[in-house]
């Protein structure tokens, strides 16, 4: 960035004009900040106390916007597919540094703890902060630890295919069962009593759907990580 260069007049005038515009827009924005607005969220929280689970964000993601979440994990799948097509992975790790004895031993201890934490975040997604998206990415970072520390480690492709197919098919199947039983796609056909809100086995299909989303996100993110690490290096 060469600041000593002469700045032309047109640039200067354009800069001044944009500054005036930004200040004007800012002025309009700051004068019209409403202090009390009625949002869709208030109605939704009211509905959540009769239909949903303790974590209202989970209800919105999985139940009220469940069809959109299906589309979003389809976007994730297509991104993962594109990365797998772009980076033709062979079975050779392309990180040149050797991992030492300490990292190899400790990663064997740490990997089950990270997986346990990811599964906890996934299963308790309807009671506490967390859920399928976060738990899936935590599991993928556990896979990343093993990929870095052990050169020969690789998640078998058949396992990824099995998990992803199972998750996608069961998501659509649960939605279709809801369509048959309750005339709504992803209708909550399992018993969900409001009185035991806050227990682990409450909320009907909402925790099941979020666990399915977690499995799908975890396998897709793990595949992205593995493709990035194990790319063929002959540039």
């Amino acid at each position: 960035m060469n600041l000593k260069r002469e700045i032309p007049t047109s640039t200067m005038s354009g800069f001044a004009l944009s500054a005036v515009l930004v200040l004007t827009i800012l002025n309009i924005l700051l004068q019209n900040i409403p202090t009390k607005i009625q949002t869709a969220g208030d109605e939704l929280l009211k509905l959540n106390s009769t239909e949903g689970v303790a974590n209202a964000v989970t209800t919105v993601v999985v139940y009220f916007r469940g069809f959109d979440t299906l589309g979003e994990i389809a976007v994730l799948f297509i991104a993962s597919l594109g990365i797998g097509l772009m980076l033709d992975s062979n079975n050779r790790c392309n990180i040149k540094a050797e991992s030492n004895f300490m990292l190899q031993t400790a990663s064997k201890f740490l990997f089950p703890i990270i997986m346990l934490f990811g599964i906890y975040v996934m299963i308790y997604g309807h009671l506490s902060p967390g859920g399928g998206f976060q738990g899936g990415v935590i599991i993928a970072s556990g896979v990343l630890l093993l990929l870095i520390s052990h050169k020969e480690f690789e998640v078998p492709h058949s396992v990824i295919v099995l998990l992803e197919t199972f998750a996608g098919v069961s998501y659509v199947l649960i939605g279709l069962i809801g369509l048959v039983v309750l005339d709504t796609f992803l209708g909550n056909f399992l018993p969900h009593d409001i009185s035991n809100m806050g227990l682990l086995m409450s909320g009907g299909i909402i925790p099941i759907i979020y666990i399915i989303v977690g499995i799908k996100v975890g396998s897709e993110m793990g595949m992205i990580v593995q493709n990035l690490i194990k790319r063929s290096d002959n540039v």
Partner: protein
């Protein structure tokens, strides 16, 4: 106190982001970029959105750094 925390974190994020943009070495730039993600985690938690904070913590500090570092390994420093 909440307002002062929000103001200070925003100023820190903006300074770190600008330093990350104008850095000459790409490795330094990537490390500073992770600082933007960490500041966002603090802000999301202050805004009472723990779900989003957890997501940003996992993504911004874990996987995003891996993606940029693998890109640096393959593309190199040369402009």
């Amino acid at each position: 106190m909440t307002g002062i925390i929000i103001l200070a974190t925003f100023m820190g994020i903006i300074i770190i982001a600008f330093a990350s943009i104008i850095q000459k070495k790409l490795a330094d730039s990537i490390i500073l970029f992770m600082g933007v993600g960490l500041g966002s985690v603090v802000l999301f938690f202050t805004f009472k959105a723990p779900d989003v904070a957890l997501t940003e913590a996992v993504i911004g500090a874990g996987i995003s750094s891996l993606i940029f570092l693998m890109a640096l390994k393959h593309l190199g420093e040369k402009v």
